[in-house]
Amino acid sequence: MAPVAPRTGDAIFANVERVNAELFTLTYGAIVRQLLTDLEEVEEVNKQLDQMGYNIGIRLIDEFLAKSNVSRCNDFRETTDVIAKVGFKMFLGVTASVTNWDADGTCCSIVLEDNPLVDFVELPDNCQGLYYCNILSGVIRGALDMVSMKTEVTWLRDVLRGDDVFELQVKLLKHVPEEYPYKDDE
């Protein structure tokens, strides 16, 4: 059978069920506020948001692969391109761009101009250390973990902190070799 061509983010987004972005945005806001109340320390909230994102990422990758027809990426450049162009579009309806590559092609930035998570949001003075969108970095890390790539994802720029865009640095730490043969019965 001929391989199926990968689908564009726009085509997938047009065909999936969608919900109002405000419901999503306000629900996320409610989560962040609950965490701030429960955990009190901003640093702990950052950690918890990252963990929640990771949990989502390891499940979201299945849907992503099933709907996008994307097959194994040849290199990390292709991987990040697919995240920015297909992944962000398919789930959040926005596109991102990839820039600031390092010389050996293992570290780059994903830049988001639009981010549906932050509508209606202003960080109060006592939350200045908060990475409000930390769930996103967790999602990327979790999803890439599932396709054998250990990464480190950090926020370089954040509109809520006064920058002009959102910039996520994605650094490839290592490829985890898959182990053959798979032992499904264990």
């Binding site: 987004f13 999936v16 069920e17 969608r18 919900v19 109002n20 972005a21 405000e22 419901l23 999503f24 945005t25 306000l26 629900t27 996320y28 806001g29 409610a30 989560i31 506020r33 609950q34 965490l35 429960d38 918890q48 929640m52 949990n55 989502i56 499940r59 979201l60 849907e63 398919m90 789930f91 959040l92 309806g93 926005v94 101009e113 639009d114 981010n115 549906p116 509508d119 209606f120 949001v121 202003e122 769930i135 509109v159 002009d164 865009v165």
Partner: protein
């Protein structure tokens, strides 16, 4: 606007123009997020009642903001002051914005004067949820009950709002009914 155009810098979030609210994200993005909300709250409680209360609190925070947002955007800064007005605002306007459709039904309770019910055959938040047997009557609709309570409370109609599964004949899945019981001061005027 969410999702389109460049982010412009405003000193204060209130200086930003209000969006039309037509932007969308994928349903699965919301479902993933909502599932994390439920799972996180499960780690914070000892029993189902507490879990429902915490989901309701989260929903309340959404409802309070939705009221404010929609009153500015859709109602020219007016807010309903009549009981039936605010109920139909919840059943129609709020539902349509949040869930893309008007709620299936809005009924007045037959046994109690102060009770109303909004019913939905397949409530969005229950769509991907199966309740494990050991969790009894737990209903994720508590989140939506909280949204309803947040809207009503903000509009000056305090109420107790709860979510219940109602089995439907010939249907595999029960429908969800949001039961609204208004506080005494709302009804005795």
């Amino acid at each position: 606007m969410i999702g389109v155009g460049k982010i412009k810098q405003y000193g204060n979030v209130l200086d930003k123009p209000l969006t039309k609210g037509k932007q969308e994200v994928s349903l699965s993005a919301f479902a993933f997020l909502f599932s994390e909300l439920v799972q996180y709250n499960q780690t914070q409680v000892d029993n189902i009642g507490e879990l429902e209360r915490r989901l309701e609190d989260a929903g309340y925070a959404v409802g309070a903001r939705v009221l404010e947002l929609l009153c500015h955007r859709d109602k020219g800064n007016r807010r309903e002051t009549r009981l039936l007005g605010i109920l139909s605002f919840v059943h129609s306007t709020v539902w349509k914005v949040l869930f893309g459709k008007v709620a299936d039904s809005l009924e007045k309770g037959t046994e109690h004067e102060d009770e109303y019910m909004i019913s939905e055959k397949e409530l969005l938040v229950n769509k991907f949820i199966s309740i494990p047997k050991d969790m009894g009557t737990f209903n994720c609709g508590a989140f939506v009950a909280g949204i309803v309570r947040g809207v009503l409370d903000g509009a000056g109609f305090p109420a107790v709002v709860t979510a219940h599964f109602v089995p439907m004949e010939g249907q595999q899945r029960p429908r969800t009914t949001i039961l609204i019981k208004f506080a005494e001061e709302v009804h005795c005027h």
